[in-house]
């Protein structure tokens, strides 16, 4: 496969994602173990979806299937009515570990995402600079990843995923490895960025508060096999206040359910 040049969409339209009857099994000690079972999900363009579940509920696997890193599954994944086959630039992903390339500067890391776009060089550097500013890393363009803090590296990873103007942004526990204070600050940042960019976002997390604070909908998953237990709509406008009574009540209820107390 050679590099294919892609045209960057001029105006970003957030994508609608449809998942139908999605199941996935992993072979374990010679036996197939179901990881995801019969997942049905309809995600509207521009929605922020939080997927909440204990570890082992297959939520990260679900993201890997959507991003196209794993194509061995049953069921359908449709982005704007088109079946998803393999990775594509219209779907960006941020992993829990930032996965920046250590031998490239911050700027080079983000510019790499535009490598195969048919764009003038000046336009590319403008986009890169714009997204570095968007995530608040202006001044660190020439820094290598090991010179950045965990929070900064994760911001850079978000910029790299967004610079392609994806229709869907997938976040796989993006703040999971950060300390509590940095995490709270980055949650606010994520909200601000999403309000500004308005792409469809699917975020996987095991942090109840984070899921409620950011999501238009919170999908709660059961483990072994991974199934959707509940689909909670949170019709509060963004940006939100953390101390909202509705979020507080929901948090108590979900914590009780998930922790099984």
């Amino acid at each position: 496969m050679n590099a294919i040049a892609h045209a960057l969409p001029t105006s970003v339209s957030p994508g609608a994602l449809t998942i139908r009857g999605l199941s996935k099994v992993y072979p374990f000690k010679g036996k197939p173990v179901p990881v995801l079972e019969d997942i049905d999900l309809e995600i509207r363009p521009g929605e922020f979806i939080s997927i909440l579940g204990a570890s082992g509920c297959g939520k990260s696997t679900l993201l890997r299937l959507i991003v196209g890193l794993d194509q061995d599954y049953q069921g359908q994944i449709l982005l704007d009515q088109q079946a998803v086959r393999g990775p594509g630039l219209e779907r960006g992903i941020v992993f829990q570990d930032h996965r920046l390339f250590p031998w490239m500067t911050l700027q080079q890391n983000i510019a790499l995402a535009l490598k195969n776009h048919r764009l003038p060089v000046a336009e590319k550097s403008r986009l890169v600079a714009e997204h570095i500013e968007l995530v608040g890393l202006g001044g660190y363009e020439q820094a290598y990843p090991h010179q950045l803090s965990g929070g900064m590296a994760q911001r850079a990873a978000i910029a790299r995923a967004l610079v392609n103007k994806p229709k869907v942004l997938l976040l796989d526990e993006p703040l999971g490895a950060l300390d509590a204070l940095t995490r709270v600050r980055l949650q606010q940042e994520l909200q601000r960025i999403w309000v500004q960019e308005r792409c469809t976002v699917i975020m996987v997390t095991h942090d109840v508060e984070e899921a409620l604070y950011l999501g238009d909908r919170v999908i709660v998953m059961d483990a072994r096999p991974g199934r959707i237990r509940e689909d909670i709509s949170i019709s509060l406008p963004h940006p939100r206040r953390r101390d909202s009574a509705r979020l507080h009540d929901l948090k108590q209820r979900l914590l009780q359910e998930l922790a099984g107390t």
Binding site: N2, I4, G88, L89, F101, P102, W103, K115, H146
Partner: protein, 251 residues
Amino acid sequence: MKLQNVRGLVLPLLLLGAWEYASRQGATGAYAFVPLAQVGSALAELLASGELLVNLWASLLRTCSGLAIGIVGGVGLGALMALSVPANRLIAPLFHALRQVPMLGWIPLIALWLGNGEGAKLLIVSLAALYPMVLNTFESLRQVAGPHREAARVLMLGRWQQLWLILLPAALPGIAAGVLQALAFAWVTSVGSELFLSAGAGLGSLMMNAEAAARMEIIVVCVLCIGLCGYLMSWLCSLLTRRLLRWQPTR
């Protein structure tokens, strides 16, 4: 100069003292361990006549050309074996069998094919540099972390882009370690090959001629020169590596 830097000189100086002491133990001592003064005057003589520099230059030049050939060929072959399973199945058994043969073992055959001139020596030096390059390139490409590969796939990089922008840079620390090894091998075999293939200039040839003329002091000058130059080249190579790998977190 800091104390730590001087410390490395202690052992060499002690050794020189012992050498000088041994050279003063009668006629046998003076024959087996040439007095340092004599070594010094031989060095001055060789420098003045230009003999040392001409021969040193010949050995250095061959080391560098052989190293360059070994690096290019070794990275290419190692990458081919790491990235293509069929190529690895085809090449690996032959490669691993051939690399068991010590470089000295090749000399009679190579001399038969290429004579005892520069071509034969260059081939030997290149081969010596090739082996560590292939092994290090192969291993470090194999060990490129899965997360890096996945990130490259998600960014839709093509195969060649993945190789140039992701896999090779990720393998660079291992490849650089290979270059350091290859340099040492190339230098040793460059001088070593001259001991056996005596046509042409080189430190090894200078030593062979000195032996024939029973000039022990010249041999000592050559030995010192070989050690010092090898040390300097390794040091330069590590400096260059550190500069090239400045993106690595300091350990």
